[in-house]
Symmetry: C2
Subunit: 279 residues, 2 copies
């Protein structure tokens, strides 16, 4: 007879597979049009920033946490829908709006800089960085954009697998002590293979016209490994400051949206730049 | 015989006039070419961010304070000289570089978010916002750019004069308790007059071809008053958190560079946007 622990682990795994099977097609479906892509980015920003603000400043002012989530979510929407050519202008306005809201609602010199930290980081790290998907999709198309989205998940999966099975030599990261070099190299290797497979399937089945050379695939894989790792450690450092294991609880016990995209946020702009210069 | 206080006040005033007479022509001279304008922006960013980092994180790590000042200063230089069309990409890279430096150099979960606060705010508020002078100069020319630079100083002077002489009704700002409505309206009025005089002189003496209508001048003046005030209060809130009267001491007793440009930083992007849409 199964132990109680085994059967709840099984149940959880089944739950995870089912939710992946539902969520994944939905996410892929959002790549069929520019507008749905913008909507997807906005939704992810809204969820992630809510988790972030609730972890960091909800105890200071919960109205502010909610309002800030809404404000930073306007960036991808306005950028994608109306101000595609004016990201800098938009970013500067939204930054100042958030600061002005803080000045009106928070009258406490002790904690005001913590509010500025939370707002600036959410606006730049979550909203601004994730919104690189918008020009990425616009210029390079759905296939490249979807590849970029799945690269982070792929790297994480391979890095986790290699790390669990043969991870002996740790990075020695103060904020993320469990990362190993074996996981890092294994993740890069798996990502490299994934890129080539993805391109083969995309070109054969969907006539995608992708033309990533093997060399470029290596560059992308290494970049993914490096940037995903830094993004992850950055988010971990903030979690350690607030003494939480996860930012959210989309998947109870396994973290929230921000925990899933922490590496993706650092990865996406760099990949966009790589495509811009070498593709 | 003059009292000691009177004579040192006189001496200080003479010092201020002399330094203004030396600094002002130098600053104006920087507007003769695009490259010197970029250099001026970079120099102001370097000085202001140094003051900011020394106030906020020098006690945590003085190497970091110096390095961060250099890193945020690369934004205007690279933007102006090499990546004029890629401000977003540049900003994302420099943001991530700063975060990665923090992760390597600061192994302390208690203070790491304060480092993130300082870096994000310096990068966005000082470096990114002031760099709007670069496209402003590039697109609208030296006359408009120099007008923008001097608008902040003009508003501050008139607001101070009106506030000192007839300032009865305070804003009630927690962070900046001495601001008065009389100063605000007087500052806007003086700014409005200044714009018209500036344009008259620029067009007559320098054939500038400026075409700011009186209505637009009113809009500019009001915008200047509002944004300059918010920028000032924002900077004041940070000073109150760190319990300092000034960020720097370029003019001993009268503050540093950042204290002079705090309003200008909020003002410049909004004016740039106004010119873009209405000029
Ligand atoms: Mg991650
Ligand atoms: Mg000021």
């Amino acid at each position: 007879m199964e132990s109680k622990k085994n059967s709840s682990l099984k149940k959880e795994t089944i739950q995870r597979i089912i939710s992946a099977l539902i969520v994944a097609p939905f996410v892929v479906f959002c790549f069929v049009s520019y507008q749905s892509l913008v909507g997807l980015v906005a939704a992810i920003v809204l969820i992630s920033s809510s988790e972030f603000f609730f972890t960091t400043i909800k105890r200071i002012n919960s109205w502010l946490a909610i309002t800030y989530s809404a404000i930073v979510t306007t960036y991808p929407i306005l950028y994608g829908v109306a101000f595609r050519k004016y990201p800098m202008e938009l970013l500067s306005v939204i930054f100042m709006v958030g600061i002005i809201v803080a000045l009106s609602k928070v009258r406490d010199r002790e904690i005001i800089t913590e509010v500025y930290f939370a707002y600036s980081v959410a606006l730049v790290y979550i909203s601004f960085l994730l919104s690189f998907f918008i020009p990425l999709y616009d210029v390079y198309g759905a296939a490249i954009a979807l590849l970029t989205l799945t690269l982070s998940w792929t790297y994480d999966s391979f890095a986790y697998a290699f790390g669990m099975t043969m991870g002996k030599h740790k990075f020695g990261s103060y904020y993320s002590p469990n990362k190993s070099w074996e996981g890092f190299y294994g993740g890069i290797f798996g990502t490299f293979v994934y890129i080539l497979i993805y391109q083969f399937v995309a070109n054969s089945l969907f006539k995608s016209n992708m033309h990533i050379t093997p060399i470029f695939a290596v560059v992308i894989a290494i970049t993914t490994g490096i940037m995903d790792t830094f993004g992850d450690i950055f988010e971990s450092s903030i979690k350690r400051h607030y003494n939480v294991k996860h930012m959210g609880n989309l998947m109870p016990g396994h973290g929230g949206m921000l925990d899933r995209i922490d590496g993706l946020l650092f990865m996406t702009p760099i990949l966009y730049i790589l495509f811009k210069f070498f593709y």
